[in-house]
Assembly symmetry: C2
Homo-oligomer: 372 residues x 2
Amino acid sequence: MELSDLFTPALILDRGRLEANCEAMRERCRRLGVGLRPHMKTLKSIDAARIAIDPEHGGIAVSTLKEAEYFAGHGIEDIQVAVCLTPDKLERAAGVARSIPRFSFFVDSAEAARAIAAAAMPFRVWIEIDSGEHRTGVAADGGALLEIANAFKGSRAFLAGVATHGGHSYRARSAEAITVIAEQEREAVVLAASRLRQAGFDVPGVSAGSTPTAVHARSGDGLTELRPGVYMAGDLFQAAIGSLARGDIAVSVLATVISHDRARGHLIVDAGGLALSKDRSTAALAGGDMGYGLVVDLDGEPAFGDLVVGGVHQEHGEVPVAHSALFDLLPVGARIRILPNHVCMTTAAYDRYRVVDGGHHIIDEWEKTAGW
Amino acid sequence: MELSDLFTPALILDRGRLEANCEAMRERCRRLGVGLRPHMKTLKSIDAARIAIDPEHGGIAVSTLKEAEYFAGHGIEDIQVAVCLTPDKLERAAGVARSIPRFSFFVDSAEAARAIAAAAMPFRVWIEIDSGEHRTGVAADGGALLEIANAFKGSRAFLAGVATHGGHSYRARSAEAITVIAEQEREAVVLAASRLRQAGFDVPGVSAGSTPTAVHARSGDGLTELRPGVYMAGDLFQAAIGSLARGDIAVSVLATVISHDRARGHLIVDAGGLALSKDRSTAALAGGDMGYGLVVDLDGEPAFGDLVVGGVHQEHGEVPVAHSALFDLLPVGARIRILPNHVCMTTAAYDRYRVVDGGHHIIDEWEKTAGW
């Protein structure tokens, strides 16, 4: 079966590019002397996880309990929910915890820690540290860190370690700036681990990571693992900030040209706000605004220059066309692929990947999970 | 079961508000003397369709073939796919066409019309007219209109009618401006119908509509039906442009407070870019920017003033808090509801509605479709 036979819109994954991106990240982690815990929030697929997992380390990260249940059901034995779970989620979490040897999740408040301790389950908990993103997490040098750790004393819950996500790396615009943030991540969790150890706690895991910082980190000293995710697929935003080359992007949306308006100079495709997502992260890139995605050909090659989806409706994407020759090249019914701005947002709308390995021949179909 | 018992994020629908919104739209259409064909692209649920359908008219509109299959499978006998189908989609369309008495879809090019004619199926086709949105559709006064109609001569396909969507009403900011666009819609399809009839074609249907134009139309002369959709649920954008009151919004996202940062003045909820969508349509409203949604209490009441989700990550929403008393009112673990900017984008991420009828007691659960 070929991409031209598929019903559109459809989500396409290039296995060769995925494998190369995964191998490059494993190699970076080997050089840094840390384990790799691939974050599966982007691809949400067991087939992708099997390619991404670091055989020396074994575990994955996820962002929802539904993802945890999905991967546990497919035999993954070390799953970290890299999000703080509030007390109302502990019963569902306990179900996953009973089903695999190493299930863990984040906490960043003493109230939540006391509820976890009271649940009387052998929960493995990472204390989340704020290394500069200022989203969630406690300060590495503040009082809450020890208050949370103390809450577990005498309970069946125990510390898996300390973890941070330097998400502010997405706001950096140079390799040097990202390297600085990678150091902030590392220093924050290493300091937190050291303070806990001085207070007598066992801190087996020291976890950091985002794709940009994992790519540009120069030291892994004191870390046990990195936890990037979007690197597997890549997207236009990650390519623009230097996490990978545009030619490494492994996920795209297959679409069909459904209407021409030669007078006004645009064509319409059947991939709109739901098929691409309304993510506009590339709008923040000086000179690099890709609208709602970059149009490439059926083989994934950049055959049309800077042709982008300029606007979206629910099921329609509008592609402004500067040269009338493009209407002849892309008649009604023509197939294109669209590289996403932010692949984590785009994959969420689909229940499967159609897998290619270069070109447009479909070699496999991978199911994925979504939702909560 | 109560909203406080649900796993979050979850999609909430208020049945009383839905019923009132549907009755108000039916009443408007009665006054205008036109049928109502509710567009189910927003709610994608058979239970909602049963409440929305105009018993005098019977039909619905949808935006994908998957929605058409879903509603046909639930017994709806008149389904209009209000999107142009290209030749590659005709085989799947034929499957739906064989299963119900009145299946129809849009066309806006002579190439596609010739492919439809060649398919040798009794397809019912609406010619899409551009009434000013300039997205898809042919001009009411141009040559393509008759070329498309002529393409069906001698084939088994036939004209269901002419249809338009005045989507540029979303860019209008006053009732008067929307009324003008409603007239543009009406005049465009009435002119197209008249030209086709003069050329000897039977034009049974004359279809127009968007929620804003359906609310503000002053005449239905020459129309057989209106085709709005978002009015059933409403959202912050529709409330801001006057399609309904904010208190009529029937869909919200239930979320839990998962983290506090009193020092920086924000709290974090477990509804982020995937749970709310990244739609920012309210950003275009002078003084009415609602970020990624407005925070209301568990009963759906605006108890917190203008508290909005100011930023989103994949699974985290960040709510800037101006008054520290709100941290006490909304501790970690507290439940809130979030009114969406653009409800069509928000509902797409979920597979079901939890249904309330005022307040926070769950009276039902409705499944819905999604994807393609």
